[in-house]
């Protein structure tokens, strides 16, 4: 068994891993290794050939591969080493990694710091329990995207889409452009789960109907799927009897959410926040296992890659600071989701960092609201707030707290909540 040593090992060469690796290198870390099971770096962006990436960071509309390429080039140029076609099987709490590669065989990699950037996987039919038969022709939207964009095959010609997640919306357009008929997108919630711009550009511009408060209640067909029953649901998501409609189709695409892929993290003993499905992290993006950092979709599901990159720079910096002996003192405050807020990342913030740099809080709201303030409170005291014209569960909110803007003492709890403008908290 081959055994190698690195200062920082980044697992996953998607946008998160690429940004973390090149940032760690830029910070002065000598040996940085990027490991990925795929043939090429870029992660899920490789199959996202539509544009709309990098609007925030680069002020241009890049395709997924173009966005990834910027970071691949940067990583190469900075001297990050790449180990592709290599699957990490286990991470031990002492930061030894076991990985396999068909050329090299089994590898043991010792790391001073590890950055987890394994991304996420799609929720599937079992996770949402759609009764009926179990034929072929049911795909998660991402798998369908891979078949169409990377392999050149059509998963189907007559499509119903369940869930209004972004990949589903993008695929609605992609299938239409390929000459397939998309019957509609059915979403169980009373609001869409995708970005507004995707609703407009993918559905409206192609005359694909979006049916809110609807779900698929049955799959028909024994060999290939032949039809689905869709039903309207009430406010408790219970199908309304009498509202059933049978829609013939040869394909059902599922775009019903993503789950951070944390099997490695769990097995290493890292604490997972059940709300986000990802590790509990500090503002250095360090997990509960010292020396192991995490960023991107493995922590929480992002809708914009620009935010993934920003968050991953922090993880790269965090790992570098650990290796270089520059970690901040371990005085921490904790964050907590208050009313209207589903979650806040990071879970913990170094008091020292609050004074020395801008701190970004990422959060998701529980339901759509207009004209609100996102407020940071400690006890009853409001420390900081920003106005938001619209907030939607589908769009992650990020709040930048400038350096020294708030002061806090170790152990304090900072609650993040939504307050309607005009309301007294």
């Amino acid at each position: 068994m081959r055994s190698i040593k690195y200062d920082v090992v980044v697992i996953g060469a998607g946008p998160a891993g690429l940004a973390a690796a090149s940032r760690a290198k830029a910070m002065g870390v000598k040996r940085v290794l990027l490991v990925d099971r795929d043939r090429e770096p870029g992660g899920i962006l490789q199959q996202c050939i539509h544009n709309g990436f990098g609007l925030h960071l680069f002020k241009e509309e890049l395709t997924g591969p173009e966005y990834a390429y910027k970071f691949i080039e940067e990583s190469y140029a900075s001297g990050v080493e790449f180990l592709m076609n290599t699957m990490v099987l286990t991470i031990q709490p002492d930061r030894q990694i076991y990985a396999i590669n068909r050329k090299v065989g089994m590898l043991k990699i010792e790391a001073q710091a590890i950055v987890l950037a394994m991304g996420c996987r799609e929720r599937n039919r079992g996770a949402v329990t759609i009764p009926g038969s179990r034929p072929s022709g049911i795909f998660t939207a991402g798998t369908a995207q891979r078949f169409v964009n990377m392999e050149g095959y059509m998963p189907g010609r007559h499509v119903v889409i369940l869930g209004s997640g972004d990949i589903g919306l993008i695929m609605a357009r992609r299938f239409t452009w390929e000459g397939a008929k998309v019957e509609g997108v059915f979403e169980i919630m009373p609001y869409s789960n995708g970005l507004n711009r995707n609703i407009v550009q993918c559905l409206k511009d192609n005359n694909i109907p979006l049916h809110l408060s609807h779900t698929v209640t049955k799959v028909h067909g024994n060999e290939r799927i032949e039809a689905v029953t869709v039903s309207q649901v009430d406010e408790h998501f219970t199908p309304l009897s009498g509202s059933e409609q049978v829609i013939p189709c040869d394909t059902l695409l599922l775009s019903v959410g993503l789950i951070p892929e944390n099997e490695l993290s769990r097995d290493a003993g890292i604490h997972i926040d059940p709300v986000i499905g990802g590790p509990v992290v500090t503002d250095e993006m360090e997990t509960t296992l010292a020396g192991v950092f995490a960023c991107g979709n493995v922590v929480h599901v992002h809708d914009l890659v620009d935010n993934v990159t920003r968050e991953s720079w922090l993880a790269g910096e965090g790992a570098a600071r650990l290796v270089l002996g520059q970690q901040p003192t371990r005085d921490l405050v904790t964050t907590k989701a208050g009313s209207g807020v589903r979650y806040v990342v990071p879970h913990k913030i170094h008091v020292e960092n609050l004074a020395t740099r801008t701190t970004t809080l990422y959060l998701r709201v529980l339901q759509p609201e207009e004209n609100v303030r996102v407020e940071l409170v400690s006890g009853t005291k409001s420390l900081f707030s920003v106005h938001q014209r619209v907030v939607r569960p589908a769009e992650m909110v990020s709040i930048n707290v400038p350096p020294k803007r708030i002061t806090a003492t170790a152990g304090e709890e900072l609650m993040v909540r939504l307050v309607r403008e005009g309301d007294k908290a």
């Binding site: 072929s136 392999e151 060999e223």
Partner: protein, 494 residues
């Protein structure tokens, strides 16, 4: 039309038919195993609870009672010979209230009469020590140490492979559409492509065994399909049950249980719903709700949000006997039934095979042992259960072990390739899944499907869009995209 000659034709390649075929492979006989699906184990055998029952349940004196106990006794050996996963976990019937305790003793007595070894009633403390996640209201339980878990389709595949390796001809995708009877004796079995002239027929047609019996004029039993629905949970929660946990059957509850599978998934089900349609394997919202709410009574902390899939199976219940239908058809002595094999049919399979063999012998079939019979079958060499050192060695011997295809179940390319090149042809995605577990994990094939299709196309010499999930019209891909159709052949070797 091709004409073949056989001593025995076994119809149906579920766990029953494959067990019979393997049993007959011990003798100097020309045996055909004929199955209508493109793979073995596509009937009841692929969708059940996968428990090797101890045998206290069945009414004393029935075939079910006798063959269950005999089957359970030989299971460990059969599974060892065939390299099939078997876990001797024991099982528990859990009384959740004092008034259920007398029923445990009823089962204990019935088990005693049936010859089930080592049954005993245990108290609450011992139960909770064994099974910490059981409802703490539990008061006592019946402990049956001889019960266990098996991989049901794994067993059927292994039996078929072992039979094939010992000379049995396996015809897949060959529905029996007629049986010739002359002067009260079967003479030939017809499928659309071949006619097999034969001296004996074994009917192991599962829920179609009544229709097959009618082909020789036997009309004294009828199969009523009884649906059972299940949820499968992420194997992360496999630790929540160490063995099958049965409720005490009550007037309202039909006995929905919580059990681990051999692969450490948690499984709950089945309910029981009689129906007419033999092909309706749909899960239903009501059925799944029933399964969930009853299982929650047994285990209040079930990880409800971590279901990875649900499925349904159909029991082949024979009316009017409600027992296995074994033996010759009245008036057709060389047609032997192994019909109506409902639960505990998986457990009983090895014993059913012995009984069928004896009936064949009584009907005049001469059984001369084959010297060269090899009872051992080597399974696919799996990667996931090996130590890092052994894994390193496997990759060194075959670099394809270094390529993970299914991330959730850690299945490598080497295993997929092996699955596609074994004694029984494997030609479908579901076939690969049942042989390797690729696609059975928490992402339910989202990740591995394109990779499995690629390997299958390469190994089987097909284009990607010819690959099916389970044969017939179940193609996975419906042609190429505009762009790759334009670039000639681009998709084919993409």
């Amino acid at each position: 039309m091709e004409r073949l000659k056989a001593d025995v034709v076994v119809i149906g390649a579920g766990v029953t038919g494959t067990a019979v075929a393997r049993e007959l492979a011990r003798y100097q006989l020309k045996v055909f195993l004929v199955e209508k699906h493109p793979d073995v184990a596509c009937g009841c055998t692929k969708a059940n609870t996968a428990i090797v029952h101890a045998g206290y349940d069945a009414t004393p004196g029935t075939w079910k009672a006798k063959l269950n106990v005999r089957g359970a006794a030989v299971y460990p050996q059969v599974c060892r010979e065939l390299e099939v996963e078997f876990k001797p976990t024991g099982s528990l019937v859990v009384a959740l209230a004092e008034d259920q305790v007398p029923h445990l003793y009823e089962l204990l007595n019935r088990g005693y009469v049936n010859g089930v070894p080592d049954l005993k009633v245990i108290g609450r403390d011992e139960l909770l020590a064994k099974e910490p996640y059981v409802n703490p209201k539990a008061v006592a339980a019946l402990w049956a140490p001889t019960a266990g878990l098996v991989n049901p389709w794994g067993l059927a595949i292994a039996q078929a492979e072992n039979a094939a390796e010992n000379g049995v001809e396996v015809l897949l995708g060959a529905p029996v559409v007629g049986i010739d009877v002359t002067d009260g004796l079967v003479t030939a079995v017809q499928t659309p492509d071949v006619i097999i002239e034969t001296r004996y027929v074994v009917n192991a047609g599962g829920r179609y065994s009544d229709e097959i019996a009618r082909m020789v004029g036997q009309d004294d039993f009828r199969i009523v399909p009884r649906k059972g629905e299940y949820y499968v949970f992420d194997k992360r929660f496999g630790y929540m049950a160490n063995c099958p946990l049965f409720p005490v059957p009550t007037a309202i509850s039909k006995g929905i249980l919580v059990t681990p599978s051999v692969d450490k998934n948690l499984l709950i089900g089945p309910n029981a719903q009689d129906q007419e349609d033999k092909e309706d394997l749909d899960t239903t919202a009501e059925g799944l709700q029933e399964v969930l709410s009853e299982a929650l009574t047994m285990m209040p902390d079930l990880p409800v949000k971590d279901a990875i899939t649900n499925f349904a199976g159909l029991r082949a219940v024979a009316r009017p006997s409600n027992d296995f239908v074994l033996g010759p058809a009245p008036g057709v002595p060389n047609f032997i039934n192994a019909a109506g094999i409902q639960s505990p049919g998986l457990t009983s399979a090895p014993a059913v095979a012995e009984v069928v063999r004896d009936y064949l012998q009584m009907a005049g079939l001469e059984l001369k042992g084959k010297k060269k019979f090899n009872p051992f079958r080597k399974g696919i060499v799996t990667f996931r259960d090996k130590s890092h050192e052994e894994q390193a060695r496997l990759i060194q011997e075959d670099p394809r072990y270094g390529q993970i295809v299914c991330r959730c179940e850690t299945v490598t390319e080497a295993e997929i390739v092996q699955a596609l090149n074994r004694p029984i042809p494997c030609t479908t995605i579901d076939g690969v899944k049942r042989r390797t577990r690729a696609g059975m994990g928490r992402c339910q094939a989202g990740f591995c499907t394109p990779r499995v299709v690629e390997i299958m196309a390469r190994e089987l010499g097909l284009s990607w869009d010819e690959i099916t999930k389970k044969g017939g019209a179940s193609r996975l891909l419906l042609g190429q995209t505009k762009c790759s159709a334009a670039v000639k052949g681009a998709g084919k070797d993409a």
